[in-house]
């Protein structure tokens, strides 16, 4: 094995700090680690580099060739790097072993950083520029993260210009830190008490789910409003992308943008009507709209006897090869089940089974029948704008007879 390149790199680095070092001695150390102890060469290089750094009390000396002066768009998991950037956001630490977490940005990109408590690093301030020497690049759920550990040296540096974040089209969002401009086209019912708001953000190219967790100083976005969002965290979980806005700077914009039309289409038989379909009760508190339990309980606003009724369908369409979860709101539901909200309310109030009776009628109107649904697809779930029953077409019969009767 050839140790001269690695030895050369190490001696160059040590010499650049003004210390003389014997290249052959370095090579001998490397050879010993690799050949006698079976250490991989890259690890051996790091060991020797660190050893020399300690010997000469050099701060922030690091192994590897291309580690110096990286820009944030060039981070590769597994590397030790030195980067300079501005702390553009700080987030609350999710665990006691983490002292700080947030986002660091330079002219090229932005990345999440994590400062371990054990690093005993100085507290970083939002808006300041720092040089991080010997940080480790890691990957967490597909997004690159800068890990700051006890071997990392942090120095505050003067601001290196103003940073203009590059806006990413929604359809091109990948896990990591992104800045986007989009319109809030839908809000979801909160599924967790820690969620301040969740919904869908869309631009011309596509749509993505977003969430804001409850935290001091965080505000809800208004549906229908366009926002420019700097430095949101894009995560992928179970194959679904989601933007977390807690670290983001959100600026509302004047005017409107064209958002991508919901033109996903799915045809199939209705194979399952899920609980929560039929006549439902919603929380009347302004801006809440959550579905109440049968006992009128809202997870946030508690008992709400002044609820509002609504109709919806939750279920599964199936084409024999794939299944698709569908969610159909009242406007599309009424013609499909042949029942208006008012009629459903009367049925619920005047029949012994109450709301269950509405559910049963929905089931008989839907299950086992064929429908074509179009709408917006989010995370494999189709938010249906239009749904029509499929009709028998004699041409299809002729085609299939030809296909089945044709020579094999």
């Amino acid at each position: 094995m050839d140790f001269s390149h690695a030895a050369e790199r190490i001696s160059q680095k040590v010499m650049s700090h003004g210390h003389a070092v014997e290249k052959t001695a370095i090579e001998t150390k490397l050879r010993r680690l690799v050949e006698e102890f079976g250490v991989p060469l890259a690890e051996a290089e790091r060991t020797v580099t660190n050893e020399l750094a300690r010997e000469f009390s050099i701060q922030g000396l690091q192994a590897g060739g291309p580690g110096e002066g990286k820009t944030l768009d060039a981070l590769v998991p597994g590397e030790w790097v030195t980067v300079e950037g501005k702390v553009v956001a700080l987030a609350s630490a999710p665990s006691p072993s983490i002292s700080q977490t947030g986002i660091v940005a330079d002219q090229t990109a932005a990345a999440r950083f994590v400062v371990w408590s054990r690093a005993s690093a100085p507290l970083l301030k939002e808006g300041n520029w720092y040089r991080f020497e010997s940080a480790v690049v890691d990957e967490y759920r597909g997004s690159v993260t800068l890990k700051i550990h006890s071997g990392t040296t942090i120095t505050e540096i003067p601001a290196a210009g103003t940073i203009k974040p590059v806006l990413t089209p929604v359809a091109e969002i990948r896990p990591g830190i992104v800045s986007v401009r989009g319109k809030v086209i839908q809000e979801f019912e909160a599924t967790h008490e820690r969620i301040l708001q969740s919904g869908i953000l869309a631009d011309e190219t596509g749509s993505v789910r977003f969430v804001t967790w409850k935290e001091e100083g965080r505000e809800r976005l208004n549906p229908g409003t366009v926002y420019t969002i700097f430095y949101a965290m894009a995560d992928e979980f179970n194959g679904r992308l989601s933007l977390t806005l807690n670290t983001a700077t959100v600026i509302s914009e004047e005017g409107d943008i064209e958002v991508s039309r919901g033109d996903a289409r799915f045809e199939g038989a209705f194979v399952h009507l899920a609980p929560g379909s039929g006549l439902i009760k919603r929380c009347p508190v302004e801006g809440c709209n959550r579905v109440l339990s049968r006992q009128n309980y809202c997870p946030v606003h508690e008992i709400q006897p002044g609820f509002q009724y609504d109709l919806r369908i939750k279920g599964w369409l199936d084409n024999g090869v794939e299944t698709r979860e569908v969610l159909i709101q009242r406007a599309a539901t009424e013609p499909l089940v042949g029942m208006t909200l008012e009629q459903a309310r009367e049925i619920a109030e005047n029949t012994p089974l109450g709301m269950d009776e509405v559910f049963l009628r929905f089931r008989d109107a839907l299950l086992g029948r064929y429908f074509a649904c179009t709408g917006r697809e989010i995370d494999g779930r189709l938010l249906v704008q239009q749904c029509t029953p499929i009709r028998f077409q004699p041409e299809r019969l002729t085609d299939l007879l030809n296909r089945a009767g044709g020579s094999p």
């Binding site: 019912e189 599924t191 179970n238 038989a269 194979v271 399952h272 609980p275 929560g276 039929g278 439902i280 009760k281 579905v291 109440l292 339990s293 049968r294 997870p299 939750k314 599964w316 199936d318 084409n319 024999g320 090869v321 794939e322 299944t323 979860e325 089974l353 109450g354 709301m355 269950d356 009776e357 509405v358 559910f359 049963l360 089931r363 008989d364 299950l367 086992g368 029948r369 064929y370 499929i390 009709r391 028998f392 299809r396 019969l397 299939l400 007879l401 296909r403 089945a404 009767g405 094999p408």
Partner: protein, 198 residues
């Protein structure tokens, strides 16, 4: 019974869970199935019936005529029903683990068109005969047009499976295990379609 709204607060999906599609299959083909296997070691991993046309199914969907239903059992009530399509008969069961399906069954009167979603399994009777029955998740009354749509859908799916089977591992396994002539199923699809023309 599942009206109302309670469960909508629950997380909507388990990690990695994917709903198994409901395969379209004619009674004449399902009747010929013999291989029933489980994918993976886990107790919860889905089990599949291998169809002679070379696809595995965990769940099936079919539409036919309910010709007979019987309530059976004393403590463990269950319904047994026969649903007929142009190629043969499906044996459908709904027991106390399918309370919704039992209640749906109770509201049906034969003869009528019904749509069934359920899970197939292969049984051996004491005298050695093999019986394929479908444990139903739902059985609902439908109209003739839905039945006709199903025949189209199922014929197309059967022909698709026959074409695909030539290049898939499940297809190879079906050829090995069943050694049946694919022409049988092509003819079955043709005859089912031909009935619609009458």
């Amino acid at each position: 019974m599942t009206g109302g709204t309670g469960p909508s607060f629950a997380p909507r999906r388990e990690g990695g869970f994917e709903r198994e599609p409901a395969r379209r299959v004619f009674a004449g083909e399902l009747r010929e199935s013999r291989i029933h296997f489980r994918e993976g070691q886990d107790e919860k991993s889905p089990s599949f019936v291998l169809l002679p046309t070379g696809a595995r199914c965990n769940r099936v969907f079919f539409v036919g005529t309910l010709t007979e239903k019987k309530k059976q059992g004393e403590q463990n009530l269950f319904y047994r029903a026969r649903v007929v399509d142009p190629t043969g008969t499906f044996f459908v069961m709904a027991g106390s683990f399918q309370p919704d399906a039992m209640q749906q069954m109770a509201r049906l009167d034969p003869p009528s068109f019904v749509a069934v979603v359920g899970k197939p399994s292969v049984y051996q009777t004491p005298d050695g005969a093999v019986l394929i029955s479908v444990r139903c998740e739902s059985i609902t009354p439908v109209d003739r047009e839905t039945r006709d749509l199903f025949i189209l859908d199922c014929a197309a799916a059967t022909l698709d499976r026959l074409e695909k089977a030539e290049s898939t591992p499940d297809g190879a396994r079906a050829r090995r295990e069943y050694a049946m002539d694919p022409a049988i199923f092509r003819k079955m699809a043709y005859e089912a379609l031909a009935q619609l023309r009458l």
